[in-house]
């Protein structure tokens, strides 16, 4: 199933977010690290894409640049046609607030806010009201109905992650980024969260980009993009666990 075809072109009209010849260098001189070395990749609208690769291959860095959390050294990041790379912090902040959602591996929630307040945080910051019907549906789907008044400390890890997911989805952003969202969860909670991610892509048309190490998690995605040493190393469409495991092994062997 593995194809070595060229990646989706950056300006493809289907891409919700895309990187064009993206380079990110940390440090300078002898200690400089090229975390991203000319990556060109697009993520289609309404689809669930996983990014995989060995540790240190630049997955998190790519995601941070795509999400406007970090600035690239050169190249372009296109979010729905707008170039994020040359934008000032004000514009990036706005984009994060209104067009992008996040789920992190850990420390997703503000400890002093209740689950409900955490969910509506980005909308609050933007001064918007959530779409009540969608909000309620999301809460029910995520099984958080009885937990909204609780502080994060009073929730299990899986519940916290579902709250974070609700926060990322509730504003219906153009893209939701998730960096190892199941890294801290047991397999059952992990499966729940992954199922929810897939469903929101398929049922709600939500674009989702997820970084993961886990072939089982990647198998939930529509497509897997492989990274190695800061460069694109192939992709898998409609992946299954076996195919993903196989390509990862090939990547490791090829180094």
């Amino acid at each position: 199933m593995q194809t070595q075809s060229s990646p989706v072109a950056g300006r493809d009209s289907l891409a919700a977010v895309a990187a064009v010849d993206l380079v990110k260098v940390y440090g300078a001189g002898d200690t400089a690290v090229r975390a991203l070395d000319g990556v060109t990749v697009g993520f289609e609208r309404g689809r669930f894409t996983a990014i995989m690769g060995p540790s240190g291959s630049g997955k998190s860095t790519l995601m941070h640049c795509l999400a406007g959390l970090d600035t690239a050294t050169s190249g372009q990041v296109l979010l729905g046609g707008t170039d994020l790379t040359s934008q000032p912090d004000r514009v990036l902040t706005r984009a994060r607030r209104e067009r992008i959602g996040f789920v992190f591996q850990s420390f997703n929630l503000l400890p002093q806010l209740t689950a409900a307040a955490n969910i509506t945080l980005p909308l609050d910051l933007a001064g918007r009201k959530p779409d009540a019907e969608f909000h309620d549906r999301l809460i029910t789907t995520l099984g958080l109905a009885g937990r909204l008044g609780h502080l994060p400390a009073e929730l299990s890890g899986g519940q916290q992650q579902r709250v974070a997911l609700a926060r990322a989805l509730v504003s219906r952003p153009e893209v939701v980024f998730a960096d190892e969202p199941t890294g801290n969860l047991d397999s059952r909670s992990g499966a729940e969260v992954l199922g929810l991610l897939r469903d929101s892509a398929h049922d709600l048309g939500q674009t989702i980009v997820m970084v993961t190490h886990d072939p089982v998690a990647a198998a939930y995605a529509d497509r897997v993009v492989l990274l190695a040493d800061g460069q694109l190393a192939g992709e898998i469409h409609a992946p299954d666990v076996a195919a993903v495991t196989e390509s990862l092994r090939n990547l490791a062997a090829g180094r």
């Binding site: 999400a67 970090d70 209104e98 850990s106 420390f107 929630l109 400890p111 806010l113 307040a117 400390a153």
Partner: protein, 832 residues
């Protein structure tokens, strides 16, 4: 070194800014302590150098005993004596007012005066006066006056010169010894200063002098240097007393530093909970952990103490040269090593005290904490049962003592009232209440925040997040706010107390000195005819009013009462007298104003009738006004003139009140001269410059307030430093939270605004708690001091204190907030 301690110390070395921040309050405290030591040294040295009244050329001083003119002449002629200068004085009554006439050699090394005009008096009856005496008493060169001795004829005096003495009291003249003796009417000298010849045998001369003055009441003969030293000591003793007060406030400041250090350590340890839990999980014992944390505290104290002492030394040695550039000569302080070591030791000790409780509670961390996500630590709510009980017990004790004080508050004019014990009880109760506040703080933060944060919460998401951030970590909020509260409590106390005392003294000055001048004769006598008319015609006087005043009357059951009929319309300042009911202008025939304590004694209120008796006659009047304190002119009741006449009092006035026509010292001098002229024919008429008394009271009060506020400023400074460092720390420690907020789309400005608002909220909570504590206690203290001072609320001043403190705490948060807002979200999220 244990591995645990090493881990902690490596952590400290990695983040020196953290060490600095936790130690900042202690640093400032040690700076203040050591600076006080140095300030005292500077002051004492400067005083010893300059403030002794004895010239350095004096070799021997003969004083405190019987010395006659004969002794003086004999000493002056002794071999070995170059000069003997007599210092004695007479108190002279002159038509121009009272005058002190003193002696001085006039020139030469033993003189303490400098002639600026004319010459020094040499012939009997000649005097030289000081510049202020020229102004005040109208005694220019060539003027003549006469001094009335206790017995015998007046001594005529002629002014031949003007001179400046060490201290110009305003009624001071110098004359030859014979004139002074003549005014005194007896041959008794206060003191003789002796200067030796170059080659004299000091011991022999001294023996000869001792022999000369020997007798029943032989005076002391002491060396000049010795006398100078003891005079300086006396001056320095006042400074010592001042520094005792300063030290009390420094102690309060140090206590504040302990509180702050404790709260900073608590924050640092709470944020390090995961790391500590990890150490516990891999097998570190509780004791080892607590010891390591305490050692870290001690290290912090050592660094902070040494830095504080060095900073104080630098400032202390920099100030004298700086001042001398402005023409003010002060001595440099020394290098008091013992005190320096003591200050550093103190810094280490208070830091250990501060770190103990946080270290013990941090060491109790469950190893499980390490496995929890960071989101679950650091935001513990509420307080434990033990702490709650302790806090409630403290609050109950404070309330109990306060209730006892309230029950035992003095009644009107109460005798044998023990104000000191009561004040101690008030202070004790206040201290307990403050300790209760510390214990119960986290619980109290919420309600205050609910009210104070209401407008913020409506203002938008940033305000809401700030309120949530403060309320979500009520322990941290309480720790910071309690320190602010201490400062606000003290300031509010001083302001409220000061305002009460101001109203009290204003009441007393208005009651006693409603105008600039007063003229009256000996008790009971009336003013000679024409005095009032002539005064009213003078261009230098205005608002001339006459009044009648009688003593020995009875008002209700109050005996030995004084009654007056001074008109509130003629003397406008009387309107400033505070009344508890009615107004002074309501006084009319049949209607009177009564002193508050007289009304209270008889249970009288507005509209009640009261009987005034004098010399067998009586009038019944209705109470039209109840005063806060006395009635005007130290009387108990103010009647309409018609009622006073009905009591059988003659129509002639007993006194006269007048204001100077022009303001300022100049106008006052002119008015005084005009009144002296008017009253000149009657030597027994006294002219009092009430305005001078008023000024003195106001000035003394102002100085007291400034000193008190400056001292309290120390505590407030430390409180602000505390808020600054706690805010900085909590921002540094919460960098991940900031990162998350930035990641989900909070702008840099909004994050900055939120963090600044949070620290301003600490100020609001602290200021509210401080006012709630400070104002009632100040009222209690004012009531307990037994001066019958009114309870006032200086609203604007308190509002200003509130505003300034909130602004300062907000300012303390600005820098750290800016730093936090600049950090990129990725870095922040990656931070541990």
């Amino acid at each position: 070194m244990s591995v645990v301690l090493r881990t902690q110390l490596v952590g400290v070395a990695k983040r020196p800014s953290r060490l600095l921040l936790t130690g900042l309050a202690v640093l400032v405290a040690s700076f203040v302590v050591y600076a006080t030591v140095l300030a005292q040294q500077i002051t004492e040295r400067s005083v010893l150098n300059g403030l002794s009244g004895t010239p350095e050329t004096v070799d021997l001083v003969v004083q405190n005993g019987e010395i006659t003119t004969g002794d003086l002449t004999a000493i002056g002629k002794m071999p070995g004596v170059a000069e003997a200068a007599v210092r004695t004085e007479a108190y002279a009554r002159t038509p121009a007012g009272d005058l002190i006439v003193a002696t001085d050699p006039g020139s030469g090394p033993l003189s303490t005066v400098e002639v600026t005009e004319g010459r020094f008096p040499t012939a009997p009856g000649e005097i030289a006066v000081t510049p202020r005496t020229v102004e005040r008493m109208g005694l220019g060169i060539g003027a003549t006056t006469a001094a009335q001795p206790a017995e015998g004829k007046p001594v005529p005096l002629t002014v031949v010169g003007v001179l400046t003495p060490r201290e110009d009291i305003g009624f001071l003249a110098y004359a030859p010894l014979s004139t002074v003796v003549q005014i005194n009417g007896f041959d008794q000298l206060d003191r003789v200063d002796v200067r030796f010849d170059g080659g004299a045998d000091a011991g022999a001369v001294r023996e000869r002098i001792v022999a000369q003055v020997a007798g029943e009441a032989a005076p002391e003969v002491a060396g000049g240097a010795e006398v100078r030293l003891s005079e300086a000591r006396e001056a320095a003793a006042e400074i010592d007393q001042l520094f005792i007060v300063v030290r009390v406030f420094v102690a309060v400041a140090v206590a504040a530093a302990v509180l702050i250090a404790a709260s900073t350590f608590r924050i640092v340890f709470a944020q390090r909970m995961r790391q500590l839990a990890l150490l516990r999980a891999v097998g570190a014992g509780r004791g080892a952990l607590a010891r390591a944390l305490a050692a870290e505290g001690a290290l912090t104290g050592l660094v902070a103490g040494v830095t504080g002492v060095l900073a104080a030394l630098a400032v202390g040695h920099l100030i004298p040269p700086l001042l001398s550039a402005f023409g003010v000569a002060v001595s440099r302080p020394g290098f008091p090593l013992v005190q320096a070591a003591g200050t550093v030791l103190l810094a280490v000790l208070i830091t250990i005290v501060a770190v103990l409780a946080p270290a013990l509670s941090a060491a109790r961390v469950a190893p499980l904490e390490a496995l929890r996500s960071a989101a679950t630590t650091g935001a513990r709510q509420g307080i434990g049962v033990l702490r709650a009980i302790t806090g409630l017990l403290l609050a109950a004790a404070a309330a109990g003592i306060a209730a006892l004080v309230t029950i035992n508050l003095p009644g009107p004019q109460e005798q044998d009232y023990d104000a000191e014990t009561m004040m101690l009880a008030v202070v004790g109760s206040g201290l307990l209440a403050y300790l209760a506040l510390i214990a119960l703080g986290p619980v109290l933060v919420r309600p205050v925040l609910t009210i104070a944060g209401w407008p913020l919460r409506r203002s938008g998401p940033v305000g809401r997040l700030a309120v949530g951030g403060v309320g979500g970590s009520s322990r941290r909020a309480a720790a910071v706010s309690v320190v602010v509260a201490l400062g606000v409590t003290l300031i509010a106390g001083v302001l409220v107390g000061g305002d009460s005392i101001r109203v009290l003294s204003e009441r007393e000055t208005v009651a006693a000195a409603p105008t600039d001048f007063e003229v009256r004769g000996p008790n009971g006598s009336t003013l000679p005819a024409g005095v009032a008319e002539r005064a009213a015609q003078s261009a230098d006087l205005s608002r001339v009013a006459t009044y009648r005043w009688i003593g020995g009357a009875q008002v209700g059951t109050f005996t030995e009462a004084a009654v007056t009929d001074v008109s509130a319309k003629a003397v406008p300042r009387l309107a400033e007298l505070d009344t508890s009911a009615g107004a002074l202008t309501d006084v009319a025939p049949g209607r009177a104003a009564i002193a508050g304590y007289v009304a209270e004694m008889d249970g009288l209120t507005l509209g009640d009738p009261v009987t005034v008796r004098s010399n067998g006659k009586e009038v019944r009047v209705t109470i039209a006004a109840v005063l806060g304190g006395e009635a005007p002119l130290h009387s108990q009741i103010l009647l309409d003139p018609a009622d006073l006449t009905a009591l059988g009092v003659a129509a002639a006035p007993t006194g006269l009140l007048a204001d100077a026509a022009q303001s300022g010292e100049d106008g006052r001098t002119k008015g005084l001269r005009a009144l002296r002229t008017v009253a000149a024919a009657q030597p027994d008429l006294g002219v009092n410059v009430l305005a001078d008394q008023r000024d003195q009271i106001t000035e003394a009060l102002g100085v007291l307030m400034v000193i008190a506020l400056a001292l309290i400023g120390l505590t407030v400074l430390i409180a602000i430093v505390g808020v600054g460092s706690t805010t900085a720390l909590s921002v540094v420690e919460r960098v991940r939270e900031s990162g998350l907020l930035r990641a989900v789309g909070m702008s840099r400005g909004a994050l900055h605004g939120m963090l600044t608002t949070e620290s301003a909220l600490y100020g609001v909570i602290g200021a509210v708690l401080g006012l709630l504590l400070g104002v009632p206690y100040a009222w209690l203290a004012v009531s307990a001091i037994g001066l019958e001072a009114p309870l006032t609320l200086p609203g604007w001043q308190l509002a200003a204190v509130f505003g300034i403190l909130v602004a300062l705490t907000a300012l303390a948060g600005v820098l750290p907030a800016r730093r936090a807002a600049r950090v990129s979200p990725v870095t922040a999220l990656g931070a541990d």
